[in-house]
Symmetry: C2
Subunit: 432 residues, 2 copies
């Protein structure tokens, strides 16, 4: 037991009954008791918690908050943690987090059994609740007693005795209502979040709903906390920073520009530049296989940056638009067909327009042969670039990779190489 053999402990716990476990918890030193308790499965943990006397409950919560306990669980690697730590019961989770400040809460959330980046990790657990059978007057009296420490809360969750969410009421609504009215008549439905879902998804739902907070429910639909809008704004801005940085081929800094050491800024950028540079060696490869064509008509090399540039821009426009649409929830992965059809059409129109302009201009300056090569290349390239740029973020999302990370180096590399292949193949065709 001192050897932290968690698997052994859980198998022992499985054969003991509740009374035996409570006796054991009583005998153990507080830190050990907390560790053992945390290894119980959710159902057991709730039963036992409810059988304990209030002071013993408080001791247990205190034990779970101890830094030694946190270290023990933080030390287990992520995959084992998921297997070992069942979700904590809503009641215990809320008591555990209440009374901790924000950084401590985030540290402690390692104990909760919610995955990294999930809504469970950004829970606000200091809130007051109401019961449906209260009158408005009784509710106001309860809030008068309870609110002191949670002064900024303005939407109150109404729950039943099992902590099931029945609806929400807004403080302004309570103040405006008839004091004799029953809370149950004032209930409004509210969108909710799940502790296990990605925090960014919940934050987006909150921002779209224009509510002030989302009740956060565990897997049994019981209230464990809420996601408040200042937290949601932080989450959305972090996500936006990542998206922006990665669309430009850099890692997000997550700190103010002027306050970031040069070393960190270089690190955020160089990995991507290397990835892109390695990708770009593909273009060297493509060009060297057409070396004879280039040698026979050096004028073709004059247009290389123009062709590559237009292709890259077209792909980038499509990728950025679709990446943002995915983040905003406007496009889902099963819209991939629709995205493809749209981008093929857009790319074809863009290609036809630019191709026509390119043809006319290069016919005037160079000759009809060059003009035909440029014109045809632009039509084909814009269509390819827009469609690839459009579907790559969706494929990234489908593969559960950050759409911006997935699409950006791929598009640069692929579209550059594809552009050169199209360009020089068209040249070979036109030149005969």
């Amino acid at each position: 037991l001192k050897e932290r053999d968690f698997a052994a402990i859980t198998s022992i716990l499985r054969v003991l009954n509740n009374t035996e476990i409570i006796e054991q918890l009583d005998v153990l030193e507080l830190t050990d008791a907390a560790i053992v308790y945390r290894l119980l499965d959710k159902h057991r943990a709730l039963e036992i918690f409810q059988e304990l006397d209030a002071p013993v409950q408080a001791d247990l919560i205190g034990g779970l908050q101890r830094s030694q306990v946190l270290e023990v669980f933080a030390g287990i690697d992520a995959a084992d943690r998921v297997a070992l730590l069942d979700e904590l019961p809503a009641k215990v989770a809320t008591s555990l987090l209440r009374g901790l400040d924000a950084p401590a809460r985030r540290e402690t959330s390692v104990l909760l059994g919610y995955p990294e980046g999930s809504t469970g990790r950004v829970l606000e657990t200091r809130f007051t609740t109401l019961y449906p059978q209260l009158s408005v007057q009784q509710a106001l009296a309860r809030l008068h007693l309870r609110l002191a420490e949670t002064e900024e809360q303005s939407t109150v969750m109404v729950i039943d005795t099992d902590r099931r969410l029945l609806g929400v009421v807004h403080l302004a609504q309570l103040l405006a209502a008839d004091p004799q009215a029953q809370i149950s008549t004032l209930l409004r439905e509210a969108p909710t979040a799940d502790v296990h879902e990605p925090a960014a998804d919940a934050a987006r739902r909150l921002a779209n709903s224009k509510c002030e907070m989302l009740p956060v429910l565990d897997s049994e639909h019981l209230v464990v906390g809420m996601l408040t809008w200042p937290d949601a704004v932080d989450i959305l801005e972090d996500a936006e920073e990542e998206r922006t940085a990665r669309s430009a081929g850099a890692e997000p800094l997550h700190r103010p520009y002027l306050g970031t050491p040069i070393r960190k800024m270089v690190r955020a950028r160089i990995i991507w530049l290397l990835v892109l540079a390695i990708g770009a060696t593909l273009t060297v490869k493509v060009l060297s296989s057409f070396e004879a064509t280039l040698e026979s008509m050096v004028v073709l090399s004059l247009f290389i940056p123009l062709i590559v540039g237009i292709g890259g821009n077209t792909g980038n426009q499509a990728a950025t638009t679709v990446t943002r649409a995915l983040a905003m929830g406007e496009v889902r992965v099963n819209d991939i067909g629709r995205v493809l059809v749209r981008e093929v059409r857009i790319g074809a129109v863009l290609g036809a327009s630019l191709g026509a302009i390119g043809f006319i201009i290069s016919a005037l300056i160079f000759d009809a042969q060059v003009a035909a090569i440029i014109g045809l290349t632009l039509v084909a390239l814009c269509t390819i670039a827009a469609s690839v740029g459009g579907i790559m973020p969706v494929i990234g999302k489908l593969l559960k990779v950050d759409p911006a990370v997935f699409s950006n180096p791929f598009i640069s590399t692929f579209v550059d190489a594809a552009g050169l292949i199209v360009y020089l193949s068209v040249a070979v065709l036109v030149l005969g």
Copy 2:
């Protein structure tokens, strides 16, 4: 007067005294009275409004809300409007907007004398206020009577009889407080916004402050309304959409991706592609001036996309990072020197690293001459690209142009052309 000769009307109004104007307003038909009233300067408008009886005040507000009146003022062009329409007094502005729904409020805001895109145009004017001398109990009673229609408000502004903001109290704070306490003892300071400042700046301040709303004050520091967080989220996301789209060389759609007609999507992208394509003709120009060098050593043309690509990516990384930092208020225009110094250093480190790698790889595959050309080019180019990419958004902001719009085509064009000049000049030097 029927000829809408506003200049003449204002000069007549200037010689009349308040009593005479009130008489005139009385005689005129409601629409005309409203137009005449709106042409008064702010000080006059307030005096006269306060001299009117309540029902006449209501008639006047009704007149100002009439669509004919709105059309008259919407018809004046923007520059004249600024000259003709002084800011409305806070009291009148609030009454005018109250009772209108959001779209109607936005239409009517043309009457207020606040510039396009300013906080004044996104005012929420349905709010209840409190006075400092009330006790908590009296305040709750007042809110009970007043709140019905503004149920979602949770932070209440406390004002004096001149509508000067004294502070704010939160509903939860009121509920928790001793009923006998005086409101003045509960006041908190709140960040505020100015009706004339850009809405995006106010929204950013609100998001950073974690408050729920910002009181919005007119140029005399009197309360005209508030900026609520759902509005702030919309404003920030619109600004973010613009920034994202323009960094990728497209215009923002301001509507969901799948719901936008292909025609509009093409239009949002093609202008930028054309601008970039025209810029790219510069690269054709640069390359043709080095045609002899390219002809004598065709292998040089193989690296064109790689060089141009790395330069473009380096510039883009810097530009995107700085554009976002400007939007977040982390960097200001007078930090331009610091930005330049940082980006020169970052660019030099990136260039040295990539140059060294490029040198080694191309020495292995090609020869020492080619390797020297590639290595030296990358060092110089990364430094140039990062510094130009970094300061361009700041210069854009300095010139009051959208930093993303200003920096993007400029960087693509400039860095591509500069990259080729550096590359081929280095080649000429190395080849002797």
